[in-house]
Structure formats: C-alpha cells, structure tokens
Symmetry: C2
C-alpha cells in the first residue's frame, strides 16, 4: 500500500514563501519537482528555474501523473485551486493551519502538510527544526506523508483540524502579536531619538531563554515583582500614546493577577 | 585625568545574575576583582570563589582602595547600599535602568553602567553584544566608563536618565510582555493536550527575523491582512479564556487600525 503511494515526483502550486521554502527542501531530499504552477508565470518561472522544474500558469496545465501535489497558496485560494485542478491520483495536500482537509475531498487521496513556521523571502529557514503537522484521508496516505515529513524535519505531529487551529492561534500570539510589540517598541525608541538596534540582543535572548526554562520561570519585570511605583512611571511615559498605554495596562493587569492574586 | 581614574581593581556589590554576569566579564578583560559584597555571605562566597575575590557580607567591610565599585543590587536597594558604603575615591556605578545617578551623589565620582539585557543564572550571555548605557558625574569619569564598556561590548551608548527610562520601558515590551505571550500560548497548548515544544522554532524565528527586516515589514497574520473570518474563529476558540480573548482583541484592534485605517 505504502509502495503504491511512494512519492518521487511533485507538483508545487503556488510560488510564495511557503511554496519556495518547502519545494527547495523537498528537492534536497531527492524528489523531482515536475512543475511549479502560479497564476503569475514570471513568479512560476523564477521558482521553477531554481528547482529545475517546468513553469505553468494555470491549474488546467498541471501534470496529472505526479505522486504529490503541494498546494501552498493563500488560505482563501485553496478551494479555488482544488476546483480548477484536474482529477489526479497522487496525494493532494494543502499547507494551511486554518483550512479543513475537506476542501480537498474531490481528490481520492488528500491530506494536510502544515509547517508551523514563518517563512520570509530572504531568510533561509532551518526546515529540519520546523514542526510539520499532518493529516490524511486514509491511514495509508498518512504513512506516506509521515515518511515524507520525517525526511524534512525531526519534528512531525499527526493532528486533526481542531488541534491545528489551536496551534495556529498560539502561533498568532507568539509570532504576530510578539512582532507587533517589537514594532511598537521600535517606534517608541525612534520617536525618542534612540537607536532601535539596541533592542535586538534583548529580543533574541528573550526568545532563546525559553529553550532552557519555561516562560513562567523566565517572567520578570515590574508587574512580575509587583513594583507599582515603576508601573506608574511607565504609564506616565506613555501619556501621549494611547495604544501603548492600553497594551501596557492589559499586560500589567494580567501579570499582576497571575502572580500577585 | 583618565590615568588618574584608570580602572584596575573592582569591588562588586550584589551577587545576583547581573552581578555575576558582569563581574565574570570584567574579570575576562583582565581586571582584578577584589571583593564581592552580599548580605548573604554564602552567595558572596559562591561568586567570589569564581572570581578569585574575597567575600564580605557588609558594606562597612568594603575595601576603600578599589578603582571601580559596581552596585548590581535590586533597584530598591541601591540607595540603601550607597548610604551604608564608606566614602571611597573610586568610581561608584549602579547598573539600573530606572534609577537616577543622583542616588550616588555622596561619592565624588559616580555613574551609571546599565546593560540592556536579561540575564539568567544558567545561561551564558554574550556580553559583547549587550548595549551598555552609561552616564557619569564628569566628562573624565565618562571617558573612563566608556573605555571600560568598549572592552566588554561593541555596543556602547551615552545616555541620560530620561533616555534610559525610555529604553527600559521598551525592554518591558519586548521582554516582559513578549514572554507573557509565550506563557499564554504555552498554557493554551498544554490545556489542549498539544506539545508546547512546537512553539520554540517559531518563537526563535520571529525574533531572528527582525535582524534582517523591520518588524513593520515582518508583520503578518489575520489582523495584518484584514481577515475578519479567521479573527472571529480565533475569538470563538478563546470563549472560555477571558484573558486571552482580551489580549487577542486589543492586538487585533490595534493591528487593524495601523494597517487598514
């Protein structure tokens, strides 16, 4: 059964950051990337060139004989792409944390292949570290996806839609909101004529710290120690910045509640 | 003038993380640590042993002939230590971001030597990366502190109390609040039976990303792209978690406002 699904050839739909990073990683494991499909043929060609693959700009031109179809397109486009694709016998997966496998149900073999990481154009990500969250339409397909995922990463998890959504929202907290705090801190320093590069070592160390200790143990600061005098001073510094003041109040209230009630 | 203040010998007051990390770094630059002073003689001895220094448990026993006195004690204790210390001719500095240099005014030569980083007991910090923020009671003392700081770090800034306080509060955002987001995300995964280690690569990459691009460019997520459907789903997932819901609402509102108004 597993042999029947053995993955050797891949079609990549999408040409963004996720498509690029995953396709390059798949190529490195020895797979052949047959095609890159993107509405924008220039984008398709750029990525296909790197992968020694063909470029196509329409789902109707997709090679029907591939073993694995990776739909790495924006969440809202997954259903559209699935509808446009020809029937294929290979395994069709999307890479989204918030989309049900069900949108791919027209395909006999389908699944989810969700990398829990943020990818950027000009940064090489270490794929071997990335947690891959997989789901499949059958145990046989699941086995094949597992085999594929462990070639890419040492961190592979089987999970359903409900769990994937929870992981995704946790990612919003530690990525989107954390990054927004970085942006707010940077703006505040800039507006006060201070060098924003001073933030970087602290940002890195704050992140690195939770590899060795739980964030609960790592928690420090005025709210953690119940230092109301410093808290008052800080709020005063934000008197002309309603947004920062609101963020400061909420966190301080919640940290005080957690550690001092 | 600079020669008169040339620093060769150091007394460290305090035995916590800041005291330990800075004292070890000072030792590595070739300085002699004469004493470690801590109310708790066992703590003083532990650190002094590492530094080949003497341990004392009272400010009255402090060596009066050192060139540099580093007061790395909790903010609330700096004034107390200063009051108890004998008059000395060396430079007396505290290491606090939120304490005025004024609390050391009884000393002829004083200053601030504030490392903008979080230090932990069991993690080696790369001091050469840490921004040192310095202030001094005179230009001559400032020159000496600059010379000392550049031996420790490639990142040295002269700033006054008002600027230091602003930097400190920016640190609260990118360290304390960010860490609280990590803790909340971890709790949420735990409560849902998911492996918290899945968060670590994303946490690290989110931090590392802002070395190459501004947090403004790095901002992603449902609020950034104005994806109200996903936002509604996320809020629904937090229906039994008032704290998380509050945090989610505030960030989402502010990110929507910043990018979509």
């Amino acid at each position: 059964m597993a042999k029947r699904f053995g993955i050797q050839t891949v079609v990549v739909v999408g040409s963004g950051n996720v498509a690029g990073h995953l396709a390059r990683a798949l190529l490195k494991t020895g797979l052949k990337i047959l095609q890159v499909c993107s509405q924008d043929i220039h984008h398709a060609r750029d990525l296909a060139g790197e992968l020694n693959a063909d470029a196509v700009n329409s789902c109707s031109k997709i090679n029907r004989e591939a073993d694995f179809y990776m739909l790495a397109v924006p969440d809202a486009k997954i259903a559209v792409v699935a509808a446009e694709m020809p029937p294929v016998r290979g395994i069709v997966c999307h890479t989204s944390g918030i989309t049900a496998m069900k949108v791919l149900e027209k395909f006999q073999h389908c699944g989810v292949f969700y990398p829990f990481q943020t990818f950027s154009k000009n940064r090489e990500a270490d794929i071997s570290d990335v947690p891959f969250c997989i789901e499949a339409s059958s145990p046989a397909v699941l086995d094949v996806l597992k085999l594929l995922a462990v070639k890419l990463s040492k961190s592979v998890f089987v999970m359903d839609m409900a769990q994937r959504e929870k992981l995704h929202v946790a990612g919003v907290l530690v990525n989107n909101f954390t990054n927004f705090l970085y942006a707010e801190a940077e703006d505040f320093l800039k507006d006060n004529g201070l060098d924003v590069s001073m933030l970087l070592p602290l940002i890195m160390e704050t992140a690195a710290k939770v590899r060795n200790m739980s964030p609960d143990e790592a928690q420090t600061g005025p709210a953690r120690r119940g230092d109301l005098t410093t808290i008052e001073k800080h709020l005063e510094m934000f008197k002309d910045r309603a947004e920062l003041k609101e963020i400061y109040r909420i966190f301080t209230k919640q940290i005080l509640k957690k550690y001092h009630e």
